[in-house]
């Protein structure tokens, strides 16, 4: 598995406690965390102001689907991982991007990020 160490990952998560945990997961993986952004506008600002390798995006930010963030990421060809509490309907949103169900573990997050950055399984490098 390719190391994720050194990559810059944007974290978009409105639930502060979950954001804190996700930040710890990412830091333990050697990732530089951009954010966490707890609102859609904050996320959009961070996207335009930073160099980002990948993003972990919560589907639902303060009751609103984070479509605008996903669009901004796609425009810049930044791969993303979609985190969701909804079991269904996420596939439509993600359009092929890896989906992780909340609550997710560090392992699961790492695997999904590998997949987003390097394709299926993250083993093709």
């Amino acid at each position: 598995m390719t190391s994720l160490s050194g990559t810059r990952v944007l974290l978009v998560e409105d639930e502060s406690v979950i954001a804190m945990m996700a930040e710890d997961f990412l830091t333990e993986l050697g990732i530089t965390v951009i954010g966490p952004a707890t609102s859609i506008n904050a996320a959009l600002e961070l996207i335009s102001a930073n160099d980002i390798d990948a993003a972990v995006l919560d589907l639902n930010i303060r009751g609103e689907l984070s479509h605008r963030v996903a669009e901004a990421l796609r425009l810049r060809r930044i791969p993303m991982v979609c985190a969701t509490g909804y079991g269904q309907g996420a596939a439509e949103f993600a359009r092929g991007a890896p989906i992780i169900d909340k609550p997710y573990s560090e392992d699961k997050l790492a695997r999904a990020l590998q997949m987003a950055l390097h394709g299926a399984g993250g083993t093709n490098e």
């Binding site: 979950i18 945990m21 509490g85 609550p103």
Partner: protein
Amino acid sequence: MRRPSDKFRDDNLKLRLALRAAPIGIWDWDLETNEMNYSPRARKISGFSPDEPITLEKVRAVTHPDDLPRTWKLAGMALDPSIRNNDPYEYRIVRADTREVRWVLAHGEAVFQRVGDTVKPVRFLGTIQDITGRKLAENALREAELRQRLAIDAARLAVWELDVPTDRLTVSPELNRMFGLPADACPTVAELRMLLGPGDLDRIMEIRCKAASTADPHFEAEFRCRFPDGSLRWRLLRAEIKIAPTGEPTHIIGVVMDIDERKRAEEQKHLLLREVHHRVKNSLSVIQALATQSFGRGAADPDALKSFLGRLAALAKATDLTVAQQGDPFRLTDLIVGVVEPFWSPTRFELQGPDIRLPARLNVPLALVFNELCSNAAKFGALLKASGTVAIQWEITTNGLELYWRESGGPPVPSKLDRGFGLRLILDVLPVEFGSVQLDPRPAGISCHVLIANPGWLNDAN
């Protein structure tokens, strides 16, 4: 050439034949002598004996008291030279012999005579026929129609019929109500179709075509119709296609039902369920985050934290499954696949068993059992080694659902397992909810037998 007397005899014969064929009695009232003459058939209909003298009083006595004023008035109109009414009329009699109430049909015609300047009736004669059978059938039909009408009203149904070749529609007033139109509107099919919700017409036509091409010509479809205020209301259409011997549909008869309230309640329930799901999943995520922050980074035993987070993940999977099934029975395979997912690799697991469904309440305890088995295997058993495998097999027996978990290819298993929380959970706590669990730590690999006792759910859900 026939002579007039031949013709008279001929007519007379025809009349007698007709009278004999039809059960018609003849009555004749001489108004000058007040003498009544009843034919044998007329006597039989009224219940008079074959030879008793008939009087006006007797005739009035056999007429049903409720119908007497009307028949008396009709007779008056027949005998009035300026009216000379000869319309047939129906009334009830109470038979003189049996006191039985019967319906009769009478035709009467008066014979008038001019004396000087005045015209007066001298004779009133006619026929009488017992029509009780027909009346009863008519009443039964009317009552059946009434019952049907009441049923249609109570079910809030609108009935319609479509002539397929011309696409012409016959509707009941209720259909207008269903489409939010004025009661006296006469909408065409095209106009009604314009009122359907987006895509609904195509869907209905597709269902109709499918029905027309199968042996069962019934079909039903839910659709929305746009009300004048712009709102969309849910309706259910049920119909039967009548097919000509040539195989072409000739017409379609159907009903439209108001299911708006039901659909809205369903939508509401669905939304609510999703919202609850979202909140539950969010709470589980927060619990996970709190536990990670509280007990992570050396604050507690990392293994204990990992076990706890695994249990939480299994609980979240079980919640997902409940919501996806909307509280209906879930597929055992879905549950197993969901729970073993963190440990999954195609070469490690082998699943084998019939496709069966289990009641929603078993979903959490079973998810926790599978999670414990998996995490135990990952810590001490087959999943510790890359070569280790787990076979999960299940079958339905007279005891219920019997499930076997068999590990192989792992490190040697100690004969006595450490009875930690995980083992207590699957051996003592959870089985109370569904049946029993037996763990057999064989040296070649852990083996586990799960019995889900059958209190009837196997038949209900499958």
